[in-house]
Amino acid sequence: MNISNDEKIALLKKMILIRLFEEKTESLFYEKLIPGFVHLSIGQEASTVGSCASLRTDDYIISTHRGHAHILAKGAEPKYMFAECFGRTTGYCKGKGGSMHIADFSKGILGANGVVGGGFPIMVGAGLSIKLRKTDQVGMVFFGDGASNRGTFHEAVNMAAVFNLPIVYVCENNRWASTSPAEKMVAGGSIAGRARSYGIPGYSVDGSKVLDVMDAVTEAIERARSGKGPTIVETETYRYKGHFEGDRQKYRTQDEIHNYRITRDPIDRFETLLVDEGVLTKESAAAIWEETKVFIEEAAQFGLDSPFPEPEDALNDLFVNP
């Protein structure tokens, strides 16, 4: 990917922002300040940031239960996300959604969806809408290896291909669908390979290299924007944390996780590359981490300082016209 140094630094900053947001979320969860379920995507930052890098604000994304990173990468503000995770009125959904259901329609974020594979059909509609309104927007569906086995995947990708819709399917294959390994659950072994049967392009890419992801997904975005239809991009990635916080992870060894962290951490890799290329010094890289930490602390504090809703607020927002 031929991009400027500033753009490279922006990619690194975004990955660091996501990493620190997720780590802060984890600690807040264990401090019992975040109720409910929390699904973290630490380890998958390059996949997400590379995918969103060439999207415009008016492009659409649909995210998953493991969605904080997608939402941040598309431009949502951490302080409103934290507030939502705390169930406060200032949250993106005024405390009605929580960690699993954050949306910011003003930034094209059509929501994190708590149903695995729930986003596929919805984006078909957004794609049709783009086509009918004759704009050059693009829709991106994030999903995992697990969701690729839902019937919604087949119906939606077939329909997107038949209607030549401007949609990019980004499969973040983190190797584990909850507790089940992809190699045992995905027939044929390749999710990108399924593209062939729909007559659309499918690419597999190293999800720990942000520039590689950006390269592949940008091409897919450009195809979609220029009216050439949908693409599937499968990023080979890995999540360091459990399916949810509190998951005892009996299905994999600590060695497996450790090995990924040591050899394929997306942020380590990119930071090292930028230092080696002379784009950054070690000191300036450290400064990014420090600044971002302060920013995340402030964002979390904003959430903690925000009021809880009144219980009766539960009765609002069901209908526009009740």
């Binding site: 329609f105 059909p121 009918l132 329909m159 209908f319």
Partner: protein
């Protein structure tokens, strides 16, 4: 304005044509729309007028309904043709977890102006998988509006209201009413959602009903009148929102209530009506609320058995007898 005698199908097609001419964001999505004008002829004439906005899809009900949700979220007003109401089962996640929840779950950020049009009902020998009335499922999910029209004028007026409504509307239309005709004025405008109507005034017993059973209730009321029983027939027209005030007013007058619907009895909307009338109008009742409904089995194929399972006019007489004897 001229009054025409129109079938429910034609009333529907007329509403769609007028609305699609008025608003370019309206489009219809479903299977087999263009070649046949819909399997019940309800879209006849429209494909020629709006070739880009009548969209035939693959047989993919999950994606069709989900696409309606996505299009509604991004500036369009989709009308989803469900083919048969029974097929909502193939898109229940899209209806229950997505369509009904997205506005609320995201704190009111979005509105979902869409109509899911679903032809329901039995009596056409279509057997178990093409004959159901599933309105009580939809009423049970907060976030959905549910319309169950009877007269052609209501089909038109309520469909216009449903299309213009900013929230998701499930529009059940009984298959046996497609050729049912009635007067429709040329300028038939909106009939607001949530407003029932007294089809026939009476003083002795209230028959609360909707959709095709309105016909059976009107027939029953005519027969009962010959025996000196004046039945008031209420056609609810929409179940969510529900015009409970109309029911209150009527029962305060008649002190007796029978609920009649074609859906099977257990857990049907009649159960909800009966419970609410008991809770809120107990002192105004001179007897229990009795339900007339289909028997609790899937719809059998053989016409002999189907007739036995579906509620008949004689069941309404029996229910009225029971209520009035108490």
């Amino acid at each position: 304005m001229a009054v025409r005698e129109l079938s429910c199908s034609l009333a529907m097609a007329e509403a769609l044509k007028e609305e699609m001419e008025r608003d370019e964001t309206i489009f219809i999505l479903g299977e087999d729309l263009n070649t046949h004008g819909g399997i019940f002829g309800q879209f006849r004439g429209l494909p020629k007028l709006f070739p880009e906005r009548i969209i035939d899809t693959p047989i993919s009900e999950t994606s069709i309904v989900g696409a309606g949700v996505g299009a509604a979220l991004t500036g369009m007003r989709p009308i989803i043709d469900m083919h048969f109401a029974d097929f909502v089962t193939t898109a229940m996640d899209e209806i229950v977890n997505q369509m009904a929840k997205i506005r609320y779950m995201f704190g009111g950020q979005a509105s979902l102006p869409l109509v899911l049009w679903a032809p329901d009902g039995g009596g056409i020998n279509a057997a178990a998988q093409h004959s159901q009335c599933l309105e009580s499922w939809m009423v049970h999910v907060p976030g959905l509006k549910v319309v169950v029209p009877f007269e052609p004028a209501d089909v038109k007026g309520l469909l216009i209201a449903a299309i213009r409504d900013p929230d998701p509307v499930i529009f059940f239309q009984h298959k046996r009413l497609f050729n049912w005709t009635g007067p429709v004025t040329e300028d038939q405008g909106i009939i607001p959602l949530g407003k029932g109507i007294v089809r026939r005034p009476g003083t002795d017993v209230t028959l609360i009903t909707y959709s095709r059973m309105t016909y059976e209730c009107m027939e029953a009321a005519r027969e009962l009148a010959k025996k000196g029983v004046q039945a008031e027939v209420i056609d609810l027209r929409t179940l969510s929102p529900l015009d409970f005030d109309l029911i209150v007013e009527s029962i305060k007058k008649t002190r007796h209530a029978v609920v009649v619907h074609e859906a099977c009895r257990t857990g049907g909307f009649g159960s909800e009506l009966s419970a609410r009338v008991s809770e809120e109008l107990f002192d105004h009742l001179d007897g229990p609320v009795v339900r007339v409904a289909a028997k609790d089995v899937p719809m059998p194929f053989s016409p002999v058995m189907e007739k036995f399972v579906l509620p008949q006019i004689t069941d309404i007489f029996a229910a009225v007898d029971t209520v009035l004897k108490r």
